[in-house]
Every structure is written in C-alpha cells, then in structure tokens.
Amino acid sequence: MKRTRRSTVGSLTALGIAGLAGCLDGGIVGSIREGGEAGEGGEAGEGAGSGTTGETGGSADGNDGSSDGTVPPTADGSRYLAYELDHLREESLSGGVGVDGIPSIDDPNFAPIDESNLVDDAPVFGVVRDGEAKAYPQHVLVHHEIVNDTLGGDPVAVTYCPLTGTTQGFERGATTFGVSGQLVNSNLIMYDRETESRWPQMLATGIDGSMYSETLREFPVVWTTLGEWRSERPDSAILTDDTGYARRYGNDPYGVYAPIGGYYAADETMFPALSTPEAGHAKSVVIGARSADGAVAFDKETLLAERVLEGRLEPADDDVVAVADPALSTGYVYRTPGDATVEPDGNGYRVEGGEAGSGGGFDADDLPLDRVLAFDAMWFAWAGFYPDTGFAGEHTEAGYGR
C-alpha cells in the first residue's frame, strides 16, 4: 500500500515536471527573433514590376540567391506592402504551436485522381507545371499546411493557410519550407530551413532573417473541387493521406467546407487582424492580386455570376480585369492598359484594344493580356494586409464562391 502511494506521488511529480518543462521550453513556441539579422530596407512598395508574367501567371526570375541554390530563389522586384516589414514582424504572434508543430509533408505520395474516394465537392488545390498536374486535398493540407514537392522537375512548396483560406505555390530551391508556428494577420508564417528566414505566406516577402525584404517566386494554385479538377485534368495525380504522420484526416479542427461550417462560416476571427474592413463578411472569398504598387480584390461569388469584373490595383490606380473560369470555379486577373476591354464571348472571352490586338474566343486563362498572379483569400485577411485595396463586386456571405 505504501509503495503504491509513493509510486503515485512519484508519477504525479514526474507529470508536474513534464508539465513545467512543456511550459518553459522556449523551443515550443518559436519566437520571431529580434531584428539582429534583419537586413536593410523595410520600405513598402518599392521595386519594379509585379513579377507576374506569362501564361501561368508565375513570378519573373530574380536570382537564385546562391550559386548552389540552397536558399529559396527570389523574384525580381517586390510585392506591394501596406505596412513596414518591422511592423509586420512586431505584429506576429504564436498560433499555439511551435516550430514544425504543424509538420510539413516532405515525402508526399500521390495516386491517380480517379482512384480518390473523396466526395466531388471536396476542396482541392490544383497545380499544373510543365504539363504535370497535381491536386492537393484541403482535408490533408489543413493538418500540414505545406507540401514540399517536385513539380515539372522543379522543387516547389504548395502551401495552405486554413485561417486565411489561402493556397499559394512557391519555388523553394534546394531547401524546404516549414511552419514556424507564428501568425500575422491570422496568416501562416513559413520559414525556410536553410536560412530560417520568416515568410508570411500571403505577402511572399521575408520579414525576418537573412532574407529580410526578399520576395519569393510564386506560381498559381487553383482552389477548386475534386470533381471539377478531375473533369479538367483527368491525368492529374492527387496527394494521398499516406504522409507518414498519424492524423485524423477526416477531422478538420477548424470547421468544414462541404457544406461550409465552423470557423470557415463564422464572421469572427480567432486572431486579431491588422485592420478591419468597414463592410463585408469576414469569411467571404475574394480573388486577390497584387503588383509592386497596389492590390485589388474581386468578390469571387460576384465574379462567377457576372463572369467579368473591372477593378483597380490601389493605391497605384492601375486598371485590371478579372474573368471567371466556370469549369474550375475560379478566376484570373489581367492588366488592362489603355482602353482595353474584355467581355464574355460564348464560353470564352473577347478582348478589344489589347496590345496584342483584338479577338474573341479566348479561354479564361489564356487572354492576350499581361496576367497578374491571383489567389483566393478570406476577405478579412486580404483587407487586413491591404487596407487600401481596390475592391470589385458585391460583398457576399461566407463560402468559397460557389
């Protein structure tokens, strides 16, 4: 009896020690380092060009960062930022997990998409690069947020932040990205494992570390559904939940998308935003685009209903147009210099006055205009990062624009 009591007390003491260790270990909640390693700069909105060109809307080449490509390759110029980089770093806070507490998938496994047992409405993030198509299911990425993969022969990271509803692709060079455990404006702050610089996903810009103020090379990722992606890309592979980690992949800790519920439908956020828009549901979905000098958001549900929306990158006051792609329930953004106009033309689009001339029957993703990389985002997150953003369409309810 006595021995049992002592054992119990010993066990409880060990638990207490483990508990305190859990609290006091600074490694648990990775903190953004003080600015000792911060480089020069912090000026917002400087640099040339949006870095988004070509039919894929991907980033223009900048530099490889190092001769052996061990650091993430960077883009020419910078993205528009409404805040100083130091302010963004100061506004970063713990998301409740430590560095790599949400583990990235570094050894992804894929299966043919027609073997998937997901429902057709399940959200997936589709990518095509050099002819290779892949789909990344939201219900897997919500537990990992980053997949370090190889696409079209290139090392890339496909990323997803569930709290801001954003999925974006980045070139990663020879290194990999991980989840820092920190958030800013509710948005995932990634870190690269070579320099440990911190990169807020939506900004694609280093806010701390030796790559401070550098801009990552991005490529477009389409937020669509399994059924739509399978119809458009039957040759696609799909990420499986054979990740090496034990997870309840059928259980989304934040809510559910099909049908929408939980955090994804609530007008409240879990973490404070950098700024709050005057109108609009926090979780309504916009298709956002940014250049070096401005940002614009198109309400996704409005765009899918009206097919064409004109807007402006603000504060640059540059004209852009968004066109819907009903097959994938998404949209693409193009610059419209001069008096160029776009209007529906059957299932495609007609462009008048473009620099490449006028014509009709263009696919939504193949207009003869300069394409600006765009991605889905929850309205509160976009307006939080870009309070002076241009906006086009009507504010709608929570959802993913369908």
């Binding site: 806070l93 800790p253 404070p272």
Partner: protein, 215 residues
C-alpha cells in the same frame, strides 16, 4: 493529528506534513469503500474521454470530405503506427501536446495515441477522480463530515478546463474569445496551474474529512 495541532504560521512544515498525511489517509479510506472506487473509476474514465476529445485525439471517424466516394467501406478495425514510434512520441508540437504515434479506428470511432498525452490525461483523470471520490465519500457520510457537495464540483472544474485548453487556440473559437499574446500566454500555463489547483483542492478536501466518520 498534526494537522489539527500544528499552526501553519508557527510550524509550517509540521502543518503541511500533517495535512498531507491526513489527506493521504482520507484518500486511502475513501478508496477502500465501494462508492469511492466507483466514483474514481467513473470520473477518471469520463475525464480521460473528455480530455481526449478536447485534444482532438478521439472522435468520429471520417468527415464530410471523405464520406462516400469510390473507396469502398472502411475496415471495422484498423491500426496505423508511424515508422519510428519512440522518436515520434517525444516530439513536442505545442505546450503539453505531443506527436501521436498511432491511429486506431474501431468502427465509427478513431483514437490518436500520443503516449505522453495519454500519460498526462491519465494523471489528470486520476487526480480529478481521487478528489471527487474523497468528496463523494465525505458527502455521503455522517453530518460530522465538514464538507459539502460543492467541493466535488470545485475539484473537477480546473481539471476539465485544463483538458480542453490543451487543444490550443481552437478552444477560443468555441468560447468566442479572440486570441492575443496575453491570452495565449495564459493558455500555456493553464495545465500546470490546473494540476497545482487540483492538488490544493485535494489537500483541502482531505483536510475537511474526519477520518473517524468515514471508516
């Protein structure tokens, strides 16, 4: 007994020693009774289940995204174990949260087994169960016992809360509080505070029990 004779100001060590001995005696006596053991068992099991649900480690299998489809019916019993369970088990993912090493699916229920969290949960469950067992035994005893039913609720509350705060900021979504650096800092300390408060509550409950009335 020493707890009755020593003064906490004049002789704190003797007073504390007496308090611990008296509480240990109350626990031993309580668990020697059937109602005490039943209370411990029921409360500990219920607490552990709630703790595991709060962590997100226990729940219904499948979800909206993976229902239906062409994958066929799920197996009734399935066990997945990671490739390196020992190394994985000690990998901390958040304060008081450790990496699961296995996923057990039994029919419609699935359970993520994270060994350290299982030990933490069982420890908390035992503490809450013992405290409530002593409370119940004392409450059911003669009026000479100087303790009321409210002590039982007081004993269980901090432990229950600590279980749910283990799931991190997602609990804030449920209770409608927005996270801030201050709130998150408090959350990190909630579990050790809960353990400490459970010990204090147990000592308090034990000190209120007259051993002669509960034999």
């Amino acid at each position: 007994m020493a707890a009755e004779t020593a003064s906490p100001t004049a002789s704190p060590v003797a007073w504390l020693s007496g308090l611990v001995r008296r509480t240990a005696f109350a626990v031993r006596v309580s668990l020697s009774r059937r109602d005490g053991r039943a209370t411990l068992g029921l409360v500990a099991v219920a607490y552990f289940v709630l703790y595991s649900v709060g962590l997100g480690h226990l729940g219904r299998a499948g979800g909206a995204a993976v229902r239906g489809g062409t994958g066929g019916s799920a197996p009734v019993l399935d066990l997945f174990v990671v490739s390196d369970p020992l190394l994985t088990a000690t990998r901390r993912v958040a304060p008081f949260q450790y990496e699961p090493v296995a996923l057990l699916t039994v029919g419609p229920i699935e359970y993520l087994f994270a060994p350290v969290n299982a030990v933490l949960g069982l420890g908390l469950a035992g503490l809450v169960g013992v405290t409530l067992a002593v409370s119940v035994v004392a409450w059911r005893g003669p009026s000479a016992c100087r303790i009321g039913a409210g002590a039982g609720a007081a004993a269980g509350l901090p432990g229950l809360l600590s279980g749910f705060v283990c799931c991190g900021p997602t609990i804030l979504l449920v209770i409608g509080i927005q996270a801030s650096a201050g709130v998150l800092a408090v959350l990190q300390w909630f579990l050790p505070l809960a353990v400490a408060s459970l010990f204090v509550t147990l000592l308090w409950v034990g000190s209120r029990v007259d051993p002669d009335t509960v034999r």
